[in-house]
């Protein structure tokens, strides 16, 4: 497998359904999807709350959230590493070098993206429907689910952006996961490993498989969205 066309190798990897590769693909999806689900659960209401409520330091919160979208994965990984290391405050949980640690690190990376985009979308929508909602006697708190639901198609893009960041990053999962064969090895860390072994065609082939995977997730989300829109008429 050392020499050859990366596209041919990628095709071969997919057709062979190599169990090692399937395990790596499965773990990649599991870790990133879990991180995105948790980040969406926390980030969507958080963004909406920042959009609707006025509180001291709100400007700083908005700017901070936007800035955190650029948090380097390596830094996020290092922070989680220091937190979960036995020498760190949460060391007794024994989570370092487990998929759970990878989920925590990726959640940290995805949360700002989802929250910041949710804030923007909900804020725009609130401007539009403010009077209508207030005339119905709806409080700001009770407006949050209504607005989130109404903005769901726009918010999906934010969630998918978060998934893109999670599935593409290598810095954080490498540090907190340790790239352990069969335990914490995901697509991106496997690509980094094959690159460092000088097996560039295989590394590129894995990259192609990862791209196809991300496209598959995005296409699925798109189709579900289209179908839902059509049903609503």
């Amino acid at each position: 497998m050392a020499a050859g066309n990366p596209f041919a190798i990628a095709l071969e990897l997919i057709l062979e359904r190599d169990p090692v590769l399937l395990g790596i693909v499965g773990l990649s999806l599991q870790v990133s999807l879990t991180a995105v689900a948790i980040a969406a659960l926390l980030g969507l209401p958080l963004g909406a709350a920042i959009a609707l409520f006025r509180f001291p330091g709100r400007g700083i919160a908005v700017a901070g959230l936007n800035a955190l979208m650029g948090l380097p994965p390596v830094v996020a990984g290092l922070m989680v590493y220091l937190l979960l290391s036995r020498a760190g405050p949460l060391g007794s949980w024994g989570l370092l070098f487990t998929p759970t640690a990878m989920v925590i690190a990726q959640t940290l990376l995805v949360l700002p993206i989802i929250a910041a985009l949710s804030r923007q979308v909900v804020e725009d929508l609130w401007e539009e429907y403010r009077e209508q909602l207030q005339s119905l006697g709806s409080s700001r708190l009770r407006a949050i689910p209504t607005l989130l639901w109404d903005a769901r198609f726009s918010l999906v893009t934010g969630v998918l952006a978060g998934f893109g960041r999670a599935s593409a990053e290598v810095g954080a999962v490498l540090i907190v996961g340790g790239n352990i064969d069969g335990v914490t090895r995901v697509m991106t860390t496997a690509i980094a490993l094959e690159t460092s072994r000088g097996d560039l065609p295989l590394a590129l082939a894995l990259g192609i498989v990862l791209l196809l995977l991300v496209m598959l997730v995005n296409a699925t989300a798109y189709l579900i969205g289209e179908q839902a829109k059509r049903r609503l008429g």
Partner: protein, 275 residues
């Protein structure tokens, strides 16, 4: 557009999200066999040695070995912090200090191979016929030929710095490029810029992107590269799996373990020699 049914559908969606997150994290939490975390070097992992010997060990004992491959400096740091159950590195001086500092209780020599000096096939510094490794390093410095250094406080980096010191060369000029990377990344970079470098033999043999690089100098005693296993002090880190780590430590130097190590080949060449 703003309909009330939205509320209940929102709740349902929320419920689905919670359920999905819960299910996904639950499957992740399921841990398997008894296992230890081994802090080791990139050279052993990338050479493929662990792929060869760990299944044999796991079959015999039922213990899974999870390898975190980092530079030797970081491996020591991991072990000191209590994040690794076992340690297998190649820095004899560092290993002894680790024990003296009270972090380890026993060190055993597991295997050895050697460092080799790699460079572009044109060999601009003419090191192929150098009399010794020190001489080769001096020739590189005199020719001011590009040299790629790991620069990451790994075992190989430490060995390289010792060679420069003995050669009486203060590296740091323009020709000396400190990469701060692992062995593989350093080999890739050196291949791209036709630079000399010091590599352990295992990484070199397993490396697939050589381009113009060839092995130019080998066989000097000072290039000896010994790998040692260190038992971590149970009193300092009582939470670690010392029983299981002890079995691994003993197995490595047992007859079965030593045979497994000596049987490992890359392209027909033996990579690690047992003691």
């Amino acid at each position: 557009m703003l309909k009330n049914p939205g509320r209940s559908r929102f709740r349902r969606t929320l419920g689905c999200l919670v359920l999905a997150a819960g299910l996904l994290s639950a499957t992740i939490a399921l841990a398997g066999k008894p296992h230890i975390t081994l802090a080791s070097t990139t050279s052993t992992e990338q050479s493929g040695l662990f792929h060869h010997i760990i299944p044999t060990f796991t079959e015999a004992t039922g213990i899974e070995v999870r390898v975190v491959a980092v530079g030797t400096g970081q491996a020591f740091a991991m072990a000191r912090a209590g994040d690794a159950d076992a340690l297998l590195v190649h820095d004899t001086t560092g290993e002894k200090r680790f024990i003296e500092d009270g972090y380890g209780i026993e060190r055993r020599e597991v295997m050895y191979n050697d460092f080799v000096i790699i460079g572009p096939s044109g060999d601009p510094a003419g090191i192929a016929d150098a009399e010794s490794a020190i001489d080769a390093m001096q020739r590189i410095a005199e020719a001011e030929a590009a040299f790629a250094s790991r620069g990451d406080d790994s075992g190989t980096h430490r060995a390289e710095l010792r060679l420069w010191q003995e050669a009486g060369v203060e590296p740091g000029s323009r020709w000396y490029r400190e990469l701060g990377s692992g062995m593989g990344a350093t080999l890739n970079t050196a291949a791209a810029m036709d630079a000399y470098l010091l590599s352990d033999r295992a990484s070199w043999l397993g490396f697939r992107n050589r381009q113009e690089l060839v092995l130019l100098f080998e066989g000097d005693e000072v290039l000896f590269n010994a790998y040692g296993s260190v038992l971590i002090d149970p009193e300092r880190h009582p939470h670690l799996k010392h029983d299981l780590a002890g079995k691994w430590h003993d197995w490595l130097v047992s007859e079965v373990g030593q045979t497994a190590i000596s049987e490992y080949r890359i392209d027909g060449e033996q990579v690690f020699l047992p003691y």
